[in-house]
């Protein structure tokens, strides 16, 4: 007999999910109970898009009588290849998490202590409005005095449209500078794009630091592990840790953290000195290769030199360089994602891109490819001009600070009181900087200095505990999000449809922005009129209504349509009504899907026929027009050496020498700087962090099913080092850096090099609102020092020295 819980009680709230008699229940369990009954219940299947991480796998939700009971993979999406990972399958528990934010909250206690009162939406908006009016009045309509940040997601743009385009703040921060900015820009400035490694066809792949078995990336993860172990793809894994990816490698290379650049420079040295690179290709497609060649040879980046720095034997480096070039152009130095490791990260990514390019493996099947993107219609909004809105505060913290800022640089300026004008408030959407930005103590300080902190989220995260107002967003299963087009070898358009109505009083961000905008429009317009001289001038000889409307000062205007209407408009314009029905029915659309898509067996599907995939696209770039894809334009893979390409770089070639960077004080070519390398003194370890396949950063930390797979994080320490320190498995150790200390349990293992220690990111939540995540293990950002690299101001995640002590 199963514990009976009526559907009504279940729907009433979270009680049914909490621990009962030592045995917790899952929502599905409750339903599995009444199998016969449930068949007579109203059942439907809704295509949706997973949001448990950033990959956006296509899923099909089974809904029984209003309750989501199962998420299965939706086979139609070429990027997700008919799979859902552990997190994706556990998405139901994001929806039915008993700790979810259920209604708006207004702070009653001190920042951080978690005291809030329930409020109505209107009260919450009123509260925000009053504060904003006061702040903007005091700051004379400088919109940038309110900063804002967002985590990645399909609705990120909706939020940005409000905060940036309509409200007018320039101080935006997103994940890029605590993630992959240096990698994206290193590749883009060198070969014209970050691209996608074609792991379905590559014959030789070097993965340094990237860990596709544990940091799942679609379709890379699915493609590569069917081809490793003597099945077509030779894999070299370079990592201080023996990861689940290393387990699949033909060659595992243990390397010291922060020295990858020396490793790549030595590979390049061997390729050039031994003339094993593709000379024909380089002659046609490189610019300034002579400079690079001279630079590499004159600096004597020899394998012997690199061995001393990296710990990788010179002979191994020589062999890898030769094997790589022998397999080229079907050879890739995998771009990697995630984070900036150390100060030289931008140069590292450049060197990696150049090394792949030396083999000719760019824009070719089995190399790094750019793919095609299917166009979507436009959804436009008028952005008002605010004369008094100042440029972002952190423009000078690094050589090139883009529109997404430098998280650490920005945060430090605010926390240390060094901003050119006051930053009075912050909006936080779907991000948890308390756990995700290095040096949590400073993030706390930053929030404490602000007059208004608004958090929009689904969970009472550590960051939410610093908010004055918390606005509960509904989860991805309760909303439709903007339709999205995915570029690739097999491009497609996907749609996240609403699976069930939002629970409690939660709302999608489109609605939150609309309602907040409606509240703010009038009072903020008054402030603009009061301080904005341009507007005052316009009003002198113009009609107020006209200036207001034409200037785009109605802040709610882009959000007036429902998401469904906006999506339909953007899609139908390009593909027509019939395709729209297909998209809604299947959740996925691409031209010719009905004839291209084929089931091969229960595990395998064909998305595009072989000859219709977009492997090489650069040559066609000029002839490309928006309707080309409709006529199945495609390029057959060609012999790379025969093709002169037009790269998306300033010189239309692979760029060896970045003169524009040199003028900003950045090395024009990848150069090893010994003084920048953090060396490990005796008695210390270099701390490294990373991901794993059961949690997404800190966003899934309260998910009960995922917590069963990993309850807390452990610190990896080399077994011999542990022995020296008298540390055994499960011992609690104190890990101390120059900025903080944490307590965590130990995992001595031969799978990590002696000079590094590691633990997984995403644990150690302090918010008491997170019943299951609260106090599990340790947060890495409490000990990671807040240094940044010089190009984009990205956080150096692997430059912190720590000491360990058994307690």
């Amino acid at each position: 007999m199963k514990v009976e819980i009526s559907r009504r009680r279940f729907l009433q709230g979270s009680v049914a999910l909490s621990v009962a008699g030592g045995a917790a229940l899952s929502s599905t369990q409750i339903l599995a109970d009444s199998k016969e009954k449930s068949q007579t219940l109203l059942m439907k299947k809704v295509p949706t898009i997973c949001e448990m991480c950033v990959n956006k796998c296509a899923a099909i939700a089974t809904v029984k009588n209003g309750i989501v009971t199962k998420l299965d993979p939706n086979p139609y999406f070429p990027k997700s290849r008919n799979m859902l990972c552990a997190r994706g399958a556990a998405g139901i528990h994001a929806l039915y998490d008993p700790d979810r934010l259920k209604y708006p909250l207004i702070r009653t206690g001190e920042r951080g202590d978690g005291q809030y009162r329930r409020a109505t939406w209107d009260e919450a908006y009123e509260f925000i409005k009053d504060k904003m009016v006061k702040i903007l009045d005091e700051e004379k309509d400088n919109r940038s005095c309110i900063g804002y940040c967002a985590g990645e997601g399909l609705a990120e743009h909706t939020y940005k449209t409000f905060m940036s385009d309509k409200f007018g703040s320039s101080n935006f921060l997103n994940h890029s500078t605590i993630c992959l900015q240096t990698a994206v820009s290193g590749y883009t400035l060198t070969i014209g794009g970050y691209g996608q490694a074609d792991l379905e066809n590559a014959k030789y792949v070097i993965m340094a630091g990237a860990n596709r078995a544990e940091a799942i990336l679609t379709p890379d993860t699915m493609d590569m592990f069917k081809r490793t172990r003597g099945r077509g793809m030779k894999l070299v894994v370079v990592d201080p840790r023996f990861t689940n990816t290393a387990m699949h490698a033909d060659t595992y290379v243990a390397i010291k953290p922060g020295t990858d650049l020396a490793f790549v420079l030595a590979l390049t040295y061997v390729a050039i000195l031994d003339q094993v690179y593709n000379r024909n290709y380089v002659a046609k497609n490189f610019v300034d290769f002579d400079k690079y060649q001279k630079h590499i040879l004159e600096n004597e980046y020899t394998p012997e030199w690199a061995e001393k720095i990296t710990g990788v034997p010179a002979a191994t480096i020589c062999k890898i360089a030769h094997d790589f070039m022998a397999a080229a152009p079907q050879a890739v130095f995998y771009q990697g994602r995630r984070t900036t490791w150390s100060k030289n990260d931008f140069q590292l990514r450049r060197a990696m891109a150049l090394f792949t390019a030396l083999g000719g493996g760019i824009d070719v099947k089995g190399g790094i490819v750019f793919g095609k993107k299917l166009p979507l219609g436009e959804h436009t909004a008028t952005a008002p001009m605010y004369a008094n809105a100042k440029p972002r505060i952190d423009k000078n913290v690094a050589a090139v600070v883009g529109a997404t800022g430098s998280w650490v640089g920005w945060r430090n300026m605010v926390a240390e009181g060094k901003t050119p004008y006051p930053i009075r408030g912050m909006f936080v959407y779907k991000q948890n900087p308390m756990l995700s930005v290095p040096n949590s103590a400073k993030t706390k300080l930053m929030f404490e200095k602000m007059d208004l902190v608004v958090v929009i989220d689904t969970m009472p995260s550590d960051t939410a505990m610093y908010a004055d107002v918390i606005l509960p967003e509904c989860t991805y299963l309760e909303r439709e999000d903007p339709v999205q087009s995915f570029a690739g070898i097999e491009p497609a358009i996907i749609l996240r449809e609403k699976v069930i109505e939002p629970m409690y009083e939660t709302k999608p961000v489109n609605d939150i922005m609309r309602e907040l905008a409606q509240k703010l429009t009038k009072p903020l317009w008054e402030i603009t009129k009061k301080y904005d001289e341009d507007i005052q001038a316009e009003l002198e000889d113009g009609d107020e209504k006209e200036v207001f409307e034409e200037g785009g000062f109605d802040l709610a205007e882009p959000f007036m349509h429902s998401q469904e209407e906006t999506n339909k408009h953007m899609f139908v314009e390009k593909y027509g009504e019939e395709a729209w029905l297909t998209l809604r029915e299947k959740g996925v659309f691409y031209p010719n899907m009905s004839t291209y898509f084929k089931k091969i067996d229960n595990n395998t599907y064909q998305y595009y026929p072989k000859d219709k995939k977009f492997y090489s696209v650069l040559k066609l770039e000029e002839e490309f027009d928006a309707t080309a894809y409709l006529h199945d334009t495609c390029v057959n893979p060609v012999d790379i050496a025969d093709l002169k390409r037009s790269f998306n770089t300033p010189n239309k070639k692979v760029e060896c020498y970045l003169g524009s960077m040199a003028s900003k004080g950045i090395d024009a070519m990848p150069t090893w700087k010994d003084e920048d390398h953090v060396k490990v003194p005796a008695g210390k370890f270099k701390f490294i962090t990373g991901r794993h396949a059961q949690f997404t950063q800190n966003s899934t930390q309260n998910n009960i099913i995922l917590l069963e797979l990993m309850r807390e994080n452990y610190i990896w320490i080399n077994d011999k080092e542990a022995e020296k320190l008298g540390i055994k498995f499960g011992d609690t150790v104190e890990v101390a850096s120059s900025i903080g200390k944490v307590l965590i349990k130990a995992y001595p293992t031969p799978k990590i090099i002696p000079e590094a220690v590691f633990y997984i990111h995403g644990f150690g939540a302090k918010s008491a609102g997170m019943t299951f995540a609260h106090r599990n293990g340790a947060s890495d950002n409490e000990i990671i020092e807040d240094t940044i690299e010089p190009v984009h101001g990205c956080a150096n995640m692997h430059d912190t020295l720590v000491s360990l002590r058994r307690v």
Binding site: M1, D72, A213, I216, M222, G230, Y252, N602, N603
Partner: protein, 221 residues
């Protein structure tokens, strides 16, 4: 019908999607020790270099299932196609089956007050084009569920072209999880022990056919 599964175990990345999908699909009791499916990890070092092998696993739905023979109440039984199941209402939790199972594939479901185990997802896998939750969710597509009786099934077609082995074959239960040996000799050697018996479809078929004929009288329709 004689249901079985092939596992391309060398694809496994220990992501545990299969475990979560199984729990959600089947309402398996929450708890880290309540698993119908798991990944066996064998790791160590050879000359100081780390290595690891992964063996994704679940109930083997053995043809000569000792758990069925041992059950005093007939709660453990063969369902359609030889799928080994437990009738929760008949189970008295004597745990004899848990002792008898060489694979430790069974556990106590406290909410049902009965033993629980893998069902090969027979509520969804037996329909046309159907498959198990663990198979469909797997990123690297380790599993292939199918019918050993059907010469044209994807499963038999695969088994005919590959070599494979069973876990703990020596217990003689005629398990039906077929572990597909890597074609590459070096990798094949790395992941099996020296006394693992390597099979082909031709050598195993008569044995399994004979057992099937013998035991299938007990199978429910």
């Amino acid at each position: 019908m004689n249901y079985a599964m092939a596992l391309d175990y060398q694809n496994c990345i220990n992501c545990k999607a299969c475990e979560v999908a199984c729990k959600e699909e089947n309402g398996v009791q929450l708890g880290a020790d309540k698993q119908r499916i798991w990944v066996g990890v064998v790791e160590g070092t050879i000359f100081g270099k780390p290595f690891a092998n992964l063996y994704p696993a679940q109930c083997n739905h053995c043809i000569d299932a000792p758990c069925v023979s041992v059950c005093p109440t007939f709660a453990s039984h063969f369902a359609e196609g030889g799928i080994v199941k437990v009738d929760a209402h008949k189970c008295i939790l004597c745990k004899g089956c848990m002792e008898a199972c060489p694979y430790d594939a069974r556990f106590v479901d406290d909410t049902m007050v009965a033993v629980d185990k893998c069902t090969f997802c027979d509520h969804r896998s037996l329909e046309e084009g159907g498959t198990t939750a663990c198979q469909t969710t797997c990123p690297t597509k380790v599993r292939l569920f199918g019918d050993l009786d059907d010469e044209n099934s994807d499963l038999v077609k695969l088994l005919k072209t590959k070599r494979f082995f069973f876990q703990k074959e020596y217990t003689g239960t005629l398990p039906k999880l077929f572990y597909i040996l890597p074609d590459d000799e070096a990798y094949a050697k790395q992941s099996v022990s020296h006394n693992t018996i390597i099979h082909t479809w031709a050598d195993i078929k008569p044995l399994y056919d004979e057992a099937r004929t013998r035991r299938s009288k007990e199978w429910k329709k």
